[in-house]
Protein backbone atom coordinates (compact mmCIF):
# COMPACT_ATOMS: atom_id res chain seq x y z
CA UNK A 1 0.00 0.00 0.00
CA UNK A 2 2.67 2.45 1.03
CA UNK A 3 5.06 1.46 -1.77
CA UNK A 4 2.51 1.93 -4.53
CA UNK A 5 1.57 5.25 -3.10
CA UNK A 6 5.19 6.31 -3.33
CA UNK A 7 5.92 4.79 -6.76
CA UNK A 8 2.86 6.12 -8.53
CA UNK A 9 3.68 9.84 -8.50
CA UNK A 10 7.28 9.10 -9.51
CA UNK A 11 6.23 7.17 -12.62
CA UNK A 12 3.58 9.62 -13.73
CA UNK A 13 5.91 12.58 -13.22
CA UNK A 14 8.05 11.74 -16.28
CA UNK A 15 5.37 10.97 -18.87
CA UNK A 16 2.99 13.63 -17.68
CA UNK A 17 5.57 16.25 -16.95
CA UNK A 18 4.73 19.09 -19.37
CA UNK A 19 8.37 20.20 -19.61
CA UNK A 20 9.59 16.72 -20.55
CA UNK A 21 6.80 16.26 -23.09
CA UNK A 22 7.48 19.67 -24.58
CA UNK A 23 11.15 18.79 -25.01
CA UNK A 24 10.32 15.48 -26.71
CA UNK A 25 7.98 17.16 -29.18
CA UNK A 26 10.51 19.86 -29.98
CA UNK A 27 13.24 17.30 -30.69
CA UNK A 28 10.84 15.32 -32.90
CA UNK A 29 9.88 18.47 -34.79
CA UNK A 30 13.51 19.44 -35.44
CA UNK A 31 14.31 15.94 -36.73
CA UNK A 32 11.32 15.97 -39.07
CA UNK A 33 12.15 19.39 -40.55
CA UNK A 34 15.83 18.56 -41.02
CA UNK A 35 14.91 15.19 -42.52
CA UNK A 36 12.47 16.64 -45.07
CA UNK A 37 14.96 19.39 -45.98
CA UNK A 38 17.74 16.85 -46.54
CA UNK A 39 15.50 14.65 -48.68
CA UNK A 40 14.42 17.61 -50.87
CA UNK A 41 18.01 18.78 -51.30
CA UNK A 42 19.27 15.32 -52.27
CA UNK A 43 16.38 14.75 -54.62
CA UNK A 44 16.86 18.09 -56.41
CA UNK A 45 20.60 17.64 -56.72
CA UNK A 46 20.22 14.24 -58.39
CA UNK A 47 17.39 15.48 -60.65
CA UNK A 48 19.41 18.48 -61.82
CA UNK A 49 22.47 16.29 -62.41
CA UNK A 50 20.37 13.82 -64.44
CA UNK A 51 18.99 16.57 -66.70
CA UNK A 52 22.37 18.19 -67.04
CA UNK A 53 21.23 21.54 -65.55
CA UNK A 54 24.03 23.51 -63.97
CA UNK A 55 23.54 24.67 -60.42
CA UNK A 56 25.37 27.05 -58.14
CA UNK A 57 25.75 30.81 -58.14
CA UNK A 58 28.34 31.13 -60.90
CA UNK A 59 25.74 32.62 -63.28
CA UNK A 60 25.81 35.87 -61.32
CA UNK A 61 29.06 36.73 -63.10
CA UNK A 62 27.66 36.14 -66.60
CA UNK A 63 26.72 38.99 -68.90
CA UNK A 64 23.04 39.93 -68.76
CA UNK A 65 22.66 41.36 -72.25
CA UNK A 66 19.27 43.04 -71.83
CA UNK A 67 18.17 46.58 -71.20
CA UNK A 68 16.45 47.81 -68.02
CA UNK A 69 13.76 50.48 -67.89
CA UNK A 70 15.02 52.19 -64.75
CA UNK A 71 18.23 51.81 -62.79
CA UNK A 72 19.49 53.88 -59.91
CA UNK A 73 23.10 52.93 -60.64
CA UNK A 74 24.94 52.89 -63.97
CA UNK A 75 24.03 49.94 -66.14
CA UNK A 76 24.73 48.76 -69.67
CA UNK A 77 23.70 45.55 -71.41
CA UNK A 78 27.21 44.16 -70.93
CA UNK A 79 26.90 44.21 -67.15
CA UNK A 80 26.45 41.00 -65.15
CA UNK A 81 23.40 39.31 -63.63
CA UNK A 82 24.89 40.23 -60.27
CA UNK A 83 24.51 43.90 -61.14
CA UNK A 84 20.97 43.26 -62.39
CA UNK A 85 20.21 41.80 -58.97
CA UNK A 86 21.48 44.96 -57.24
CA UNK A 87 19.40 47.14 -59.60
CA UNK A 88 16.26 45.11 -58.90
CA UNK A 89 16.90 45.30 -55.17
CA UNK A 90 17.40 49.07 -55.28
CA UNK A 91 14.22 49.53 -57.34
CA UNK A 92 12.25 47.44 -54.84
CA UNK A 93 13.71 49.42 -51.94
CA UNK A 94 12.88 52.68 -53.76
CA UNK A 95 9.21 51.80 -54.22
CA UNK A 96 8.92 50.42 -50.68
CA UNK A 97 10.63 53.43 -49.16
CA UNK A 98 8.55 55.96 -51.09
CA UNK A 99 5.39 53.96 -50.36
CA UNK A 100 6.06 53.67 -46.63
CA UNK A 101 6.89 57.38 -46.35
CA UNK A 102 3.83 58.69 -48.19
CA UNK A 103 1.44 56.05 -46.85
CA UNK A 104 2.40 56.97 -43.27
CA UNK A 105 1.95 60.68 -43.99
CA UNK A 106 -1.40 60.32 -45.74
CA UNK A 107 -2.57 57.61 -43.33
CA UNK A 108 -2.03 59.81 -40.26
CA UNK A 109 -3.73 62.80 -41.88
CA UNK A 110 -6.76 60.77 -43.01
CA UNK A 111 -6.96 58.90 -39.70
CA UNK A 112 -7.06 62.16 -37.74
CA UNK A 113 -9.49 63.70 -40.26
CA UNK A 114 -11.76 60.72 -39.71
CA UNK A 115 -12.12 61.77 -36.05
CA UNK A 116 -12.64 65.44 -36.88
CA UNK A 117 -15.80 67.06 -35.50
CA UNK A 118 -16.16 68.60 -38.98
CA UNK A 119 -18.87 66.49 -40.63
CA UNK A 120 -17.68 66.94 -44.21
CA UNK A 121 -14.04 66.21 -43.38
CA UNK A 122 -14.74 63.03 -41.44
CA UNK A 123 -17.19 61.87 -44.13
CA UNK A 124 -14.61 62.44 -46.88
CA UNK A 125 -12.04 60.49 -44.87
CA UNK A 126 -14.49 57.62 -44.44
CA UNK A 127 -15.23 57.54 -48.16
CA UNK A 128 -11.51 57.51 -48.94
CA UNK A 129 -10.87 54.63 -46.55
CA UNK A 130 -13.78 52.53 -47.76
CA UNK A 131 -12.86 52.96 -51.43
CA UNK A 132 -9.14 52.34 -51.28
CA UNK A 133 -9.10 49.56 -48.74
CA UNK A 134 -11.74 47.48 -50.50
CA UNK A 135 -10.29 47.32 -54.01
CA UNK A 136 -7.55 44.73 -54.62
CA UNK A 137 -4.14 46.40 -54.87
CA UNK A 138 -3.37 44.79 -58.24
CA UNK A 139 -6.51 46.37 -59.69
CA UNK A 140 -5.49 49.76 -58.31
CA UNK A 141 -2.09 49.42 -59.95
CA UNK A 142 -3.80 48.58 -63.25
CA UNK A 143 -6.11 51.56 -62.81
CA UNK A 144 -3.31 54.07 -62.32
CA UNK A 145 -1.14 52.52 -65.00
CA UNK A 146 -3.54 51.69 -67.82
CA UNK A 147 -6.52 53.94 -67.15
CA UNK A 148 -4.65 57.04 -66.04
CA UNK A 149 -0.99 57.15 -67.04
CA UNK A 150 -1.19 55.18 -70.30
CA UNK A 151 -4.04 57.47 -71.28
CA UNK A 152 -1.80 60.51 -71.02
CA UNK A 153 -1.11 62.51 -74.20
CA UNK A 154 2.05 62.22 -76.32
CA UNK A 155 5.03 64.42 -75.35
CA UNK A 156 4.02 67.24 -77.75
CA UNK A 157 0.65 67.57 -76.01
CA UNK A 158 1.99 67.17 -72.45
CA UNK A 159 0.17 68.55 -69.44
CA UNK A 160 2.28 71.41 -68.20
CA UNK A 161 2.64 72.80 -64.68
CA UNK A 162 4.53 76.03 -63.89
CA UNK A 163 6.52 75.78 -67.14
CA UNK A 164 8.78 73.24 -65.47
CA UNK A 165 6.84 70.03 -64.81
CA UNK A 166 5.43 67.95 -67.66
CA UNK A 167 3.24 64.88 -67.61
CA UNK A 168 2.80 62.69 -70.66
CA UNK A 169 2.59 59.06 -71.68
CA UNK A 170 6.32 58.59 -71.15
CA UNK A 171 6.23 59.70 -67.54
CA UNK A 172 6.57 62.65 -65.22
CA UNK A 173 9.31 65.15 -66.14
CA UNK A 174 10.64 67.18 -63.23
CA UNK A 175 13.39 69.82 -63.06
CA UNK A 176 16.53 68.35 -61.55
CA UNK A 177 19.04 70.28 -59.48
CA UNK A 178 22.64 70.53 -60.65
CA UNK A 179 25.21 71.70 -58.06
CA UNK A 180 26.60 75.16 -58.84
CA UNK A 181 29.22 77.51 -57.33
CA UNK A 182 27.43 78.17 -54.07
CA UNK A 183 26.58 74.53 -53.43
CA UNK A 184 29.22 73.74 -50.82
CA UNK A 185 28.59 76.86 -48.78
CA UNK A 186 24.85 76.21 -49.01
CA UNK A 187 25.23 72.61 -47.87
CA UNK A 188 27.41 73.67 -44.94
CA UNK A 189 24.87 76.36 -43.97
CA UNK A 190 22.07 73.79 -44.10
CA UNK A 191 24.06 71.43 -41.90
CA UNK A 192 24.86 74.27 -39.52
CA UNK A 193 21.16 75.13 -39.31
CA UNK A 194 20.31 71.52 -38.40
CA UNK A 195 22.99 71.42 -35.71
CA UNK A 196 21.81 74.78 -34.38
CA UNK A 197 18.22 73.52 -34.18
CA UNK A 198 19.27 70.47 -32.17
CA UNK A 199 21.27 72.68 -29.81
CA UNK A 200 18.43 75.19 -29.43
CA UNK A 201 15.91 72.41 -28.77
CA UNK A 202 18.14 70.97 -26.07
CA UNK A 203 18.78 74.33 -24.52
CA UNK A 204 15.06 75.14 -24.60
CA UNK A 205 14.19 71.89 -22.85
CA UNK A 206 16.86 72.43 -20.19
CA UNK A 207 15.65 75.96 -19.64
CA UNK A 208 12.02 74.82 -19.40
CA UNK A 209 12.92 72.22 -16.80
CA UNK A 210 15.06 74.69 -14.87
CA UNK A 211 12.84 77.76 -14.98
CA UNK A 212 9.50 76.54 -16.33
CA UNK A 213 9.65 79.06 -19.20
CA UNK A 214 8.34 77.82 -22.56
CA UNK A 215 10.34 78.62 -25.70
CA UNK A 216 8.88 78.77 -29.24
CA UNK A 217 11.24 76.09 -30.56
CA UNK A 218 9.33 75.20 -33.79
CA UNK A 219 9.16 78.84 -34.94
CA UNK A 220 12.84 79.40 -34.22
CA UNK A 221 13.71 76.14 -36.00
CA UNK A 222 11.87 77.20 -39.16
CA UNK A 223 13.52 80.61 -38.94
CA UNK A 224 17.00 79.07 -38.71
CA UNK A 225 16.24 76.67 -41.55
CA UNK A 226 15.25 79.55 -43.83
CA UNK A 227 17.72 82.19 -42.69
CA UNK A 228 21.06 80.36 -42.64
CA UNK A 229 20.89 78.67 -46.09
CA UNK A 230 19.24 81.82 -47.49
CA UNK A 231 22.13 83.94 -46.26
CA UNK A 232 24.59 81.44 -47.72
CA UNK A 233 22.88 81.66 -51.11
CA UNK A 234 23.03 85.45 -51.00
CA UNK A 235 26.73 85.51 -50.12
CA UNK A 236 28.08 82.62 -52.18
CA UNK A 237 25.70 82.67 -55.12
CA UNK A 238 23.20 80.15 -56.37
CA UNK A 239 23.68 76.72 -54.76
CA UNK A 240 22.12 74.87 -57.71
CA UNK A 241 21.04 75.50 -61.24
CA UNK A 242 17.94 73.73 -62.41
CA UNK A 243 17.94 71.52 -65.44
CA UNK A 244 14.44 72.08 -66.75
CA UNK A 245 12.97 69.50 -69.14
CA UNK A 246 12.56 70.89 -72.66
CA UNK A 247 10.70 69.60 -75.68
CA UNK A 248 13.15 68.79 -78.48
CA UNK A 249 11.57 67.13 -81.48
CA UNK A 250 9.37 64.32 -80.24
CA UNK A 251 10.65 64.07 -76.70
CA UNK A 252 11.89 65.95 -73.68
CA UNK A 253 15.53 66.40 -72.79
CA UNK A 254 17.00 67.49 -69.47
CA UNK A 255 15.42 67.26 -66.05
CA UNK A 256 14.49 64.13 -64.22
CA UNK A 257 12.11 61.49 -65.59
CA UNK A 258 9.93 59.43 -63.32
CA UNK A 259 8.70 56.51 -65.39
CA UNK A 260 4.92 55.89 -65.38
CA UNK A 261 5.45 52.39 -63.95
CA UNK A 262 7.07 53.86 -60.84
CA UNK A 263 4.38 56.54 -60.51
CA UNK A 264 1.54 54.02 -60.88
CA UNK A 265 3.06 51.54 -58.44
CA UNK A 266 3.92 54.16 -55.82
CA UNK A 267 0.50 55.80 -56.10
CA UNK A 268 -1.39 52.53 -55.84
CA UNK A 269 0.65 51.12 -52.93
CA UNK A 270 0.58 54.44 -51.09
CA UNK A 271 -3.15 55.06 -51.39
CA UNK A 272 -4.03 51.43 -50.64
CA UNK A 273 -1.83 51.15 -47.56
CA UNK A 274 -2.70 54.67 -46.34
CA UNK A 275 -6.34 53.58 -46.02
CA UNK A 276 -5.33 50.80 -43.61
CA UNK A 277 -2.93 53.03 -41.70
CA UNK A 278 -5.71 55.63 -41.35
CA UNK A 279 -7.89 53.00 -39.68
CA UNK A 280 -5.03 52.02 -37.36
CA UNK A 281 -4.47 55.63 -36.41
CA UNK A 282 -8.16 56.22 -35.77
CA UNK A 283 -8.52 53.18 -33.55
CA UNK A 284 -5.26 54.04 -31.78
CA UNK A 285 -6.48 57.50 -30.87
CA UNK A 286 -9.90 56.17 -29.90
CA UNK A 287 -8.27 53.55 -27.69
CA UNK A 288 -7.08 56.35 -25.40
CA UNK A 289 -10.07 56.71 -23.10
CA UNK A 290 -11.95 59.97 -22.89
CA UNK A 291 -11.12 59.99 -19.19
CA UNK A 292 -7.50 60.79 -20.07
CA UNK A 293 -8.53 63.93 -21.93
CA UNK A 294 -10.87 64.94 -19.11
CA UNK A 295 -8.19 64.44 -16.46
CA UNK A 296 -5.71 66.49 -18.50
CA UNK A 297 -8.32 69.21 -19.06
CA UNK A 298 -9.24 69.37 -15.41
CA UNK A 299 -5.55 70.02 -14.64
CA UNK A 300 -5.68 73.07 -16.92
CA UNK A 301 -3.51 71.68 -19.73
CA UNK A 302 -3.91 73.31 -23.14
CA UNK A 303 -5.39 71.24 -26.00
CA UNK A 304 -2.11 71.00 -27.90
CA UNK A 305 -0.23 69.93 -24.77
CA UNK A 306 -2.93 67.33 -24.07
CA UNK A 307 -2.47 65.93 -27.57
CA UNK A 308 1.31 65.94 -27.36
CA UNK A 309 1.88 64.83 -23.76
CA UNK A 310 -1.11 62.59 -23.06
CA UNK A 311 -2.93 61.36 -26.18
CA UNK A 312 -0.21 60.76 -28.79
CA UNK A 313 2.23 58.87 -26.52
CA UNK A 314 -0.56 56.46 -25.57
CA UNK A 315 -2.07 56.17 -29.05
CA UNK A 316 1.33 55.32 -30.57
CA UNK A 317 1.52 52.21 -28.41
CA UNK A 318 -1.65 50.95 -30.01
CA UNK A 319 -0.75 52.11 -33.53
CA UNK A 320 2.77 50.71 -33.83
CA UNK A 321 2.13 46.93 -34.02
CA UNK A 322 -0.50 47.08 -36.82
CA UNK A 323 1.58 49.78 -38.53
CA UNK A 324 4.44 47.29 -38.67
CA UNK A 325 2.32 44.76 -40.48
CA UNK A 326 1.15 47.44 -42.94
CA UNK A 327 4.78 48.27 -43.72
CA UNK A 328 5.49 44.57 -44.25
CA UNK A 329 2.47 44.26 -46.54
CA UNK A 330 3.56 47.25 -48.57
CA UNK A 331 7.08 45.91 -49.03
CA UNK A 332 5.72 42.54 -50.13
CA UNK A 333 2.98 44.05 -52.34
CA UNK A 334 5.68 45.98 -54.20
CA UNK A 335 6.33 42.70 -56.02
CA UNK A 336 3.06 43.32 -57.91
CA UNK A 337 5.37 45.54 -59.98
CA UNK A 338 5.81 42.53 -62.24
CA UNK A 339 2.27 43.06 -63.55
CA UNK A 340 3.10 46.39 -65.21
CA UNK A 341 6.74 45.73 -65.92
CA UNK A 342 8.34 47.97 -63.33
CA UNK A 343 11.84 46.49 -62.95
CA UNK A 344 11.68 45.48 -59.29
CA UNK A 345 13.50 42.51 -57.81
CA UNK A 346 10.78 40.00 -58.68
CA UNK A 347 10.13 41.03 -62.29
CA UNK A 348 13.81 41.59 -63.02
CA UNK A 349 15.58 38.83 -61.13
CA UNK A 350 12.98 36.14 -60.45
CA UNK A 351 11.53 36.96 -63.90
CA UNK A 352 13.92 37.96 -66.67
CA UNK A 353 17.09 36.53 -65.14
CA UNK A 354 15.37 33.27 -64.24
CA UNK A 355 14.02 32.92 -67.78
CA UNK A 356 17.40 33.56 -69.36
CA UNK A 357 19.49 31.35 -67.09
CA UNK A 358 16.94 28.68 -66.16
CA UNK A 359 18.41 28.57 -62.67
CA UNK A 360 15.05 28.69 -60.94
CA UNK A 361 16.11 27.36 -57.56
CA UNK A 362 18.95 29.82 -57.09
CA UNK A 363 17.10 32.92 -58.30
CA UNK A 364 13.96 32.10 -56.32
CA UNK A 365 16.01 31.27 -53.22
CA UNK A 366 17.93 34.55 -53.47
CA UNK A 367 14.75 36.57 -54.06
CA UNK A 368 12.93 34.93 -51.18
CA UNK A 369 15.86 35.50 -48.84
CA UNK A 370 15.95 39.16 -49.79
CA UNK A 371 12.24 39.64 -49.00
CA UNK A 372 12.73 37.75 -45.76
CA UNK A 373 15.65 40.02 -44.89
CA UNK A 374 13.68 43.19 -45.73
CA UNK A 375 10.68 42.03 -43.71
CA UNK A 376 12.77 40.95 -40.74
CA UNK A 377 14.60 44.28 -40.73
CA UNK A 378 11.32 46.20 -40.66
CA UNK A 379 9.96 43.94 -37.90
CA UNK A 380 13.07 44.18 -35.77
CA UNK A 381 13.17 47.96 -36.07
CA UNK A 382 9.49 48.35 -35.21
CA UNK A 383 9.63 45.81 -32.37
CA UNK A 384 12.58 47.62 -30.89
CA UNK A 385 10.64 50.90 -31.06
CA UNK A 386 7.53 49.28 -29.66
CA UNK A 387 9.42 47.82 -26.72
CA UNK A 388 10.97 51.18 -25.99
CA UNK A 389 7.58 52.82 -25.59
CA UNK A 390 5.68 49.90 -24.02
CA UNK A 391 3.49 50.55 -20.99
CA UNK A 392 4.63 49.19 -17.64
CA UNK A 393 1.94 46.99 -16.14
CA UNK A 394 1.83 45.02 -12.97
Amino acid sequence: MQTTARVQPARSSLLRDPKFRGLVFQILAVFTVVGIGWYLFQNTQSNLAQRGITSGFGFLNNTAGFGILQSLIDYTETDTYGRVFVIGLLNTLLVSGLGIFFATLIGFVIGIARLSPNWLLSRLATVYIEIFRNIPPLLQIFFWYFAVLRAMPAPRASYEFFDAIYLNIRGLYLPSPIPADGFNVFAIALLAACVAIVLVARWARKRREATGQLFPTPAVAIGLLVALPGLAALVAGNPVTWSVPELRGFNFVGGLVVIPELVALTLALTLYTAAFIAENVRSGIQAVSHGQTEAARSLGLRPRHILRLVIIPQALRVIIPPLTSQYLNLAKNSSLAAAIGYPDLVSLFAGTVLNQTGQAIETIAITMSVYLAISLSISLLMNWYNKRIALVER
Binding site: A210, T211, G212, R297, S298, L299, G300, R302, V392
Partner: protein, 255 residues
Protein backbone atom coordinates in the same frame (compact mmCIF):
# COMPACT_ATOMS: atom_id res chain seq x y z
CA UNK B 1 -16.77 55.48 10.64
CA UNK B 2 -15.96 57.87 13.46
CA UNK B 3 -18.87 59.83 14.85
CA UNK B 4 -16.52 62.67 15.75
CA UNK B 5 -17.28 65.73 13.66
CA UNK B 6 -14.83 68.08 12.01
CA UNK B 7 -15.45 71.47 13.55
CA UNK B 8 -13.56 73.81 11.20
CA UNK B 9 -16.12 76.36 9.99
CA UNK B 10 -16.52 77.74 6.50
CA UNK B 11 -15.27 81.26 5.75
CA UNK B 12 -17.27 84.12 4.32
CA UNK B 13 -15.68 84.38 0.89
CA UNK B 14 -17.88 83.07 -1.90
CA UNK B 15 -15.92 80.49 -3.94
CA UNK B 16 -18.62 79.09 -6.23
CA UNK B 17 -21.94 80.60 -7.22
CA UNK B 18 -24.36 78.77 -9.50
CA UNK B 19 -27.36 80.92 -10.49
CA UNK B 20 -30.34 79.09 -12.00
CA UNK B 21 -28.12 76.86 -14.09
CA UNK B 22 -29.94 74.80 -16.73
CA UNK B 23 -28.61 72.14 -19.03
CA UNK B 24 -30.13 69.91 -21.68
CA UNK B 25 -28.85 66.85 -23.52
CA UNK B 26 -30.94 67.22 -26.67
CA UNK B 27 -34.52 67.11 -25.39
CA UNK B 28 -33.46 65.77 -22.00
CA UNK B 29 -33.43 68.41 -19.25
CA UNK B 30 -30.52 67.23 -17.03
CA UNK B 31 -30.12 70.25 -14.75
CA UNK B 32 -33.17 72.28 -13.75
CA UNK B 33 -32.57 75.67 -12.16
CA UNK B 34 -29.62 74.74 -10.00
CA UNK B 35 -28.81 77.42 -7.41
CA UNK B 36 -25.81 76.80 -5.22
CA UNK B 37 -23.41 78.97 -3.23
CA UNK B 38 -20.22 77.52 -1.80
CA UNK B 39 -18.09 79.53 0.62
CA UNK B 40 -14.37 79.20 1.22
CA UNK B 41 -13.51 76.13 3.29
CA UNK B 42 -17.02 74.77 2.97
CA UNK B 43 -17.45 71.03 2.45
CA UNK B 44 -20.47 69.85 0.53
CA UNK B 45 -21.62 66.34 -0.18
CA UNK B 46 -23.96 65.71 -3.11
CA UNK B 47 -26.07 62.60 -3.11
CA UNK B 48 -29.07 61.28 -4.95
CA UNK B 49 -30.24 58.42 -7.14
CA UNK B 50 -28.33 57.35 -10.23
CA UNK B 51 -28.88 59.68 -13.18
CA UNK B 52 -30.07 62.57 -11.01
CA UNK B 53 -27.41 64.94 -12.39
CA UNK B 54 -24.82 64.99 -9.58
CA UNK B 55 -21.84 64.38 -11.87
CA UNK B 56 -23.17 66.84 -14.42
CA UNK B 57 -23.49 69.53 -11.73
CA UNK B 58 -19.90 69.34 -10.51
CA UNK B 59 -18.53 68.82 -14.04
CA UNK B 60 -20.13 72.12 -15.04
CA UNK B 61 -18.00 73.87 -12.42
CA UNK B 62 -14.76 73.17 -14.32
CA UNK B 63 -16.38 73.17 -17.78
CA UNK B 64 -16.02 69.49 -18.52
CA UNK B 65 -19.70 70.03 -19.34
CA UNK B 66 -21.16 73.24 -20.72
CA UNK B 67 -24.30 74.76 -19.18
CA UNK B 68 -26.78 76.39 -21.50
CA UNK B 69 -28.56 78.85 -19.25
CA UNK B 70 -27.77 80.57 -15.96
CA UNK B 71 -24.43 81.73 -14.56
CA UNK B 72 -21.53 79.98 -12.89
CA UNK B 73 -18.95 82.12 -11.10
CA UNK B 74 -15.86 80.43 -9.67
CA UNK B 75 -13.56 82.43 -7.40
CA UNK B 76 -14.75 85.69 -8.96
CA UNK B 77 -14.37 84.54 -12.58
CA UNK B 78 -17.48 83.84 -14.64
CA UNK B 79 -17.46 80.73 -16.83
CA UNK B 80 -18.07 81.77 -20.41
CA UNK B 81 -16.85 80.19 -23.60
CA UNK B 82 -13.69 82.31 -23.28
CA UNK B 83 -10.83 79.76 -23.30
CA UNK B 84 -8.56 81.94 -21.14
CA UNK B 85 -11.17 82.09 -18.39
CA UNK B 86 -11.86 78.38 -18.61
CA UNK B 87 -8.15 77.64 -18.24
CA UNK B 88 -7.86 80.11 -15.36
CA UNK B 89 -10.70 78.36 -13.54
CA UNK B 90 -9.35 74.86 -14.24
CA UNK B 91 -6.04 75.87 -12.66
CA UNK B 92 -7.91 76.71 -9.44
CA UNK B 93 -10.21 73.68 -9.41
CA UNK B 94 -8.86 70.18 -8.86
CA UNK B 95 -10.88 67.12 -9.77
CA UNK B 96 -10.76 63.48 -8.72
CA UNK B 97 -12.58 60.92 -10.85
CA UNK B 98 -14.28 57.63 -10.10
CA UNK B 99 -11.85 55.75 -12.36
CA UNK B 100 -8.71 57.68 -11.26
CA UNK B 101 -7.73 58.58 -14.86
CA UNK B 102 -4.02 58.58 -14.07
CA UNK B 103 -1.72 58.85 -17.11
CA UNK B 104 -0.54 55.22 -17.53
CA UNK B 105 2.54 56.12 -19.61
CA UNK B 106 3.98 58.35 -16.89
CA UNK B 107 5.38 57.48 -13.47
CA UNK B 108 3.54 58.56 -10.35
CA UNK B 109 6.00 61.44 -9.97
CA UNK B 110 5.60 62.49 -13.61
CA UNK B 111 1.81 62.34 -13.25
CA UNK B 112 2.15 64.82 -10.41
CA UNK B 113 4.66 67.16 -12.07
CA UNK B 114 3.11 67.31 -15.56
CA UNK B 115 0.58 70.08 -14.97
CA UNK B 116 2.70 72.18 -12.57
CA UNK B 117 5.47 72.21 -15.20
CA UNK B 118 3.37 72.77 -18.33
CA UNK B 119 0.60 74.92 -16.85
CA UNK B 120 2.21 76.73 -13.93
CA UNK B 121 5.65 76.81 -15.63
CA UNK B 122 7.33 75.51 -12.52
CA UNK B 123 10.97 74.38 -12.80
CA UNK B 124 11.30 70.60 -12.68
CA UNK B 125 13.10 70.54 -9.32
CA UNK B 126 10.47 72.66 -7.68
CA UNK B 127 7.63 70.65 -9.27
CA UNK B 128 9.22 67.43 -8.01
CA UNK B 129 9.60 68.86 -4.53
CA UNK B 130 5.93 69.85 -4.52
CA UNK B 131 4.94 66.43 -5.85
CA UNK B 132 6.93 64.61 -3.16
CA UNK B 133 5.37 66.83 -0.52
CA UNK B 134 1.85 65.82 -1.60
CA UNK B 135 2.77 62.17 -2.17
CA UNK B 136 3.95 62.16 1.44
CA UNK B 137 0.66 63.70 2.51
CA UNK B 138 -1.27 60.89 0.82
CA UNK B 139 1.32 58.47 2.29
CA UNK B 140 2.85 56.93 -0.82
CA UNK B 141 6.16 58.72 -1.39
CA UNK B 142 7.86 55.32 -1.84
CA UNK B 143 5.77 54.65 -4.98
CA UNK B 144 6.94 57.82 -6.75
CA UNK B 145 8.95 56.05 -9.45
CA UNK B 146 6.41 53.32 -10.18
CA UNK B 147 3.84 53.42 -12.97
CA UNK B 148 0.10 53.62 -12.17
CA UNK B 149 -0.42 50.08 -13.52
CA UNK B 150 1.81 48.78 -10.74
CA UNK B 151 -0.34 50.21 -7.92
CA UNK B 152 -3.51 49.03 -6.18
CA UNK B 153 -6.77 50.90 -6.78
CA UNK B 154 -6.61 52.68 -3.44
CA UNK B 155 -3.04 53.78 -4.08
CA UNK B 156 -3.96 54.99 -7.56
CA UNK B 157 -6.79 57.10 -6.20
CA UNK B 158 -4.47 58.63 -3.60
CA UNK B 159 -2.01 59.47 -6.40
CA UNK B 160 -4.89 61.09 -8.30
CA UNK B 161 -5.65 63.22 -5.24
CA UNK B 162 -1.98 64.17 -4.92
CA UNK B 163 -1.84 64.99 -8.65
CA UNK B 164 -4.74 67.40 -8.30
CA UNK B 165 -3.29 68.97 -5.14
CA UNK B 166 0.05 69.65 -6.87
CA UNK B 167 -1.68 72.43 -8.80
CA UNK B 168 -2.44 74.03 -5.37
CA UNK B 169 -6.14 74.34 -6.21
CA UNK B 170 -8.53 76.46 -4.16
CA UNK B 171 -11.40 74.02 -4.70
CA UNK B 172 -11.48 70.22 -4.99
CA UNK B 173 -14.22 68.29 -6.78
CA UNK B 174 -14.69 64.58 -6.15
CA UNK B 175 -16.93 62.42 -8.35
CA UNK B 176 -17.62 59.17 -6.48
CA UNK B 177 -13.92 58.73 -5.60
CA UNK B 178 -14.45 55.42 -3.78
CA UNK B 179 -17.10 53.75 -5.98
CA UNK B 180 -14.62 51.82 -8.11
CA UNK B 181 -12.61 50.55 -5.14
CA UNK B 182 -12.64 47.24 -3.31
CA UNK B 183 -14.12 47.66 0.19
CA UNK B 184 -10.80 47.28 1.98
CA UNK B 185 -9.35 50.21 0.04
CA UNK B 186 -12.23 52.62 0.59
CA UNK B 187 -11.02 53.60 4.04
CA UNK B 188 -7.52 54.65 2.99
CA UNK B 189 -8.96 57.03 0.40
CA UNK B 190 -11.62 58.41 2.74
CA UNK B 191 -8.96 58.99 5.41
CA UNK B 192 -6.93 60.96 2.90
CA UNK B 193 -9.99 63.04 2.07
CA UNK B 194 -10.72 63.66 5.75
CA UNK B 195 -7.18 64.94 6.25
CA UNK B 196 -7.65 67.21 3.28
CA UNK B 197 -10.87 68.49 4.82
CA UNK B 198 -9.02 69.18 8.09
CA UNK B 199 -6.60 71.39 6.19
CA UNK B 200 -9.50 73.71 5.28
CA UNK B 201 -9.91 72.83 1.59
CA UNK B 202 -13.15 73.83 -0.13
CA UNK B 203 -14.64 70.51 -1.23
CA UNK B 204 -17.57 69.35 -3.35
CA UNK B 205 -17.97 65.67 -3.16
CA UNK B 206 -20.39 63.30 -4.90
CA UNK B 207 -20.47 60.19 -2.74
CA UNK B 208 -22.74 57.62 -1.20
CA UNK B 209 -20.45 57.18 1.82
CA UNK B 210 -22.88 58.52 4.39
CA UNK B 211 -20.47 58.01 7.30
CA UNK B 212 -18.00 60.29 5.51
CA UNK B 213 -20.78 62.81 4.82
CA UNK B 214 -21.77 62.85 8.49
CA UNK B 215 -18.17 63.41 9.67
CA UNK B 216 -16.96 65.89 7.11
CA UNK B 217 -19.79 67.76 5.39
CA UNK B 218 -21.07 71.16 6.42
CA UNK B 219 -24.00 70.66 4.12
CA UNK B 220 -25.56 67.71 2.30
CA UNK B 221 -27.38 68.33 -0.96
CA UNK B 222 -29.90 65.83 -2.23
CA UNK B 223 -30.56 65.84 -5.97
CA UNK B 224 -33.25 64.02 -7.91
CA UNK B 225 -34.21 64.28 -11.59
CA UNK B 226 -31.95 67.26 -12.20
CA UNK B 227 -33.22 69.30 -9.26
CA UNK B 228 -31.84 70.16 -5.84
CA UNK B 229 -34.61 68.70 -3.75
CA UNK B 230 -33.25 69.40 -0.30
CA UNK B 231 -30.14 70.71 1.43
CA UNK B 232 -29.30 70.72 5.11
CA UNK B 233 -26.57 70.17 7.68
CA UNK B 234 -25.87 66.43 8.19
CA UNK B 235 -27.65 66.08 11.56
CA UNK B 236 -30.76 67.75 10.24
CA UNK B 237 -30.53 65.88 6.92
CA UNK B 238 -30.36 62.41 8.42
CA UNK B 239 -32.66 62.87 11.41
CA UNK B 240 -35.31 65.04 9.87
CA UNK B 241 -35.48 64.84 6.07
CA UNK B 242 -38.24 67.07 4.76
CA UNK B 243 -39.08 65.66 1.38
CA UNK B 244 -40.65 62.31 0.65
CA UNK B 245 -38.06 61.61 -2.10
CA UNK B 246 -35.21 62.17 0.37
CA UNK B 247 -36.78 59.79 2.87
CA UNK B 248 -37.17 57.09 0.18
CA UNK B 249 -33.56 57.57 -0.92
CA UNK B 250 -32.19 57.46 2.63
CA UNK B 251 -34.28 54.40 3.30
CA UNK B 252 -32.63 52.67 0.36
CA UNK B 253 -29.00 53.49 1.07
CA UNK B 254 -29.10 53.24 4.89
CA UNK B 255 -30.75 49.83 4.25
Amino acid sequence: MTEKKLESAAGDKLMIRMESVNKWYGEFHVLKDINLDVRQGERIVLCGPSGSGKSTTIRCINRLEEHQAGRIIVDGVELTSDLKQIEAIRREVGMVFQHFNLFPHLTVLENCTLAPMWVRHMPRREAEAVAMHFLERVRIPEQALKYPGQLSGGQQQRVAIARALCMKPAIMLFDEPTSALDPEMVKEVLDTMIELAESGMTMLCVTHEMGFARTVAHRIIFMDRGEIVEQAAPDEFFSNPKSERTRTFLGQILH
